[in-house]
């Protein structure tokens, strides 16, 4: 067995930064396996589910993974109060219902919720702004886990900070629970547009760019050289139709999360199936026209631009 099997907890502090500097990925927490699972999800749809039955509907529709939750984001938004990690019984029930990977959410900075999820055998942890943050300044040190993490981002600096902390997958934040795609589009364009800008910079400009972004220099350098994020990049937050999913794919993300958009629609199984097909054939308008027919109503939405600042989830995380 290679040393990449070493559990994160035995690694001395500083190992990760050194590994980044030397151009290789950190050997703790099996980086290749953690980021590799996200590679396997590409071109796929990850669906929020609140019961084992919904999880089964998602799997049958061709979801690549499900996000196990007590409430979908639109209900969290409606109910208010503190939103926390789901009950382990609920997560177990969903894990036992399906053969595809199961994700679950921990609050930003709540590393004990993440420890619990890892202990349950959750395949991917979403350190999510949809839940109420547990720390006003710091995110989870994700290198300490063997379980991989996905984190939300609104711009490139935020995405690279999360990757610097050990996130093995990035998603746009969008504005969860609205069914309005506008913020997911804004965030994806921020991230991808900024990548193109950095790709065209002179190397002399990169340190100042890293300073301005508040992002690790080594990761800015990697973006400059490769023209892409060092990890897989999905869209989330407001996807409600097959055309929404295809829009995000054409803009340049590698897959989509659909939260409230499926089980708050009129015909969840058909909507799930249609969004899966649209994510594969995102570049084929004839196919998309067929896929979009006769689906019934999408989720009732809320216009994200009309939300008051304190109602927006996208500002959570730092």
């Amino acid at each position: 067995m290679d040393t990449t099997g070493t559990p994160a907890t035995t690694a001395a502090n500083g190992t990760h930064a050194k590994a980044w500097r030397e151009g290789s990925k950190p050997e703790v927490g099996n980086w290749r396996e953690k980021s590799g699972l996200a590679q396997m999800l590409k071109g796929g749809v990850i669906m929020d589910v609140v019961t084992p039955d919904q999880a089964k509907i998602a799997e049958d529709a061709g979801a690549v993974s499900v996000m196990a939750l007590e409430r979908v984001p639109s209900d969290i938004r409606r109910d208010g109060g503190v939103a926390r990690m789901s009950d382990p019984d609920l997560i177990d029930g969903i894990i036992n219902a399906v053969s595809i990977p199961v994700m679950a959410k921990a609050r930003i900075g709540h590393f004990v919720e993440a420890q619990v999820l890892e202990s349950l055998g959750v395949d991917y942890c979403d350190e999510s702004e949809v839940l109420t943050p547990a720390d006003n300044a710091f995110h989870i040190n994700k290198w300490e886990f063997k379980m991989p993490f996905v984190c939300g981002a609104t711009n490139l600096g935020e995405a690279l900070r999360r990757i610097g902390e050990g996130a093995a997958m990035i998603r746009t934040k969008g504005e969860a629970g609205t069914g309005d795609i506008v913020n997911a589009v804004t965030h994806a364009r921020q991230v991808l547009g900024h990548i193109r800008k950095i790709q065209n910079m002179d190397e002399e400009e990169l340190m100042t760019e890293a300073k301005n972004l508040g992002a690790p220099f080594e990761l800015v350098l990697e973006v400059h050289r490769t023209g892409k994020l060092p990890v897989v990049n999905f869209a989330a937050g407001g996807i409600a139709t097959p055309a929404d999913a295809a829009l995000m794919m054409q803009i340049g993300v590698e897959g989509v999360f659909v939260g409230s958009g499926i089980f708050k629609s009129e015909n969840p199984a058909q909507m799930a199936d249609a969004i899966v097909r649209a994510t594969t054939h995102y570049n084929d308008p004839d196919m998309l026209a067929e896929i979009s027919r006769g689906l019934g109503g999408a989720m009732p939405g809320i216009e994200a631009n009309k939300l008051a600042d304190e109602e927006k989830l996208e500002g959570r995380g730092w």
Binding site: E33, M40, K42, D60, G62, P101, M147
Partner: protein, 219 residues
């Protein structure tokens, strides 16, 4: 002075070098881009296959890593199943990695999904456990020169049984088969496309070339 080639040899050498082979990677879902990049490193052109009609021109096809339930569902939905059967019956080369191995198996020990039955093997999904049980290992891969191969296993399957004409070409320390080969079909439980080592891709290109040679009657 170079010996002039006999006509048949001339044809084979000019038509069947790496740049003339056509390989496709099934791009319904999964890490198809990584496979394409590996073939490009070897000077072989590889295309994303999203429609069954694209199979007609190909010498070889890879079914990549991804979610086997998703790939099986989309392959059925978009009419790939009879076309893939014909592709294999025509003697063209096929390679499944991880989810791809599950998709092409004749039989699964799991109740779900229903595999496409393109290779006489029996496969168990997620055999090693969940994501936290994913791992890397190094072992001999028969037919590859040099160092043992570093293999990445992500929620990986194993081969539980093989039929006639299928040989085991790589095993874990406990003897469990993780790479198997029949005349024109290859299956690996791990992901050579996630490393920088192109040797398994090169091995498959050789299979594609041999299959193309056979079909062209150039053996």
């Amino acid at each position: 002075m170079v010996e002039p080639l006999r006509p048949s040899q001339q044809a084979s050498d000019s038509e069947l070098d790496n740049s003339s082979l056509k390989i496709g990677v099934l791009a319904l879902q999964g890490d198809f881009i990584e496979h394409i990049h590996m073939f490009e490193k070897l000077g072989v052109s590889a295309i994303e296959v999203r429609k069954p009609s694209q199979l007609a021109d190909l010498d070889g096809l890879v079914i990549p890593g991804g979610e086997s339930t998703t790939i099986v569902k989309l392959a059925n939905m978009f009419g790939f199943v009879p076309e893939l059967r014909a592709f294999v019956d025509d003697g063209r080369a096929l390679w499944g990695t991880c989810a791809g191995m599950i998709v092409i198996a004749n039989e699964l020990t799991d109740s779900y999904p229903e595999p496409l039955k393109l290779m006489d093997i029996c496969v168990s999904r997620n055999w090693f456990g969940r994501q936290v049980d994913s791992f890397e290992d190094k072992f001999e891969f028969r037919g590859l020169d040099g160092d043992p191969f570093l293999a990445v296993f992500i929620r990986a399957p194993v081969v539980e049984g093989v039929g006639d004409g299928v040989e085991v070409i790589a095993q874990l320390e406990d003897g469990r088969p993780v790479a198997v080969k029949s005349e024109n079909t290859l299956a690996t439980a791990f992901h050579p496309e996630l490393t920088d080592d192109t040797r398994v891709h090169d091995y498959f290109v050789a299979m594609v070339r041999e299959a193309a040679r056979q079909r062209a009657g150039l053996s």
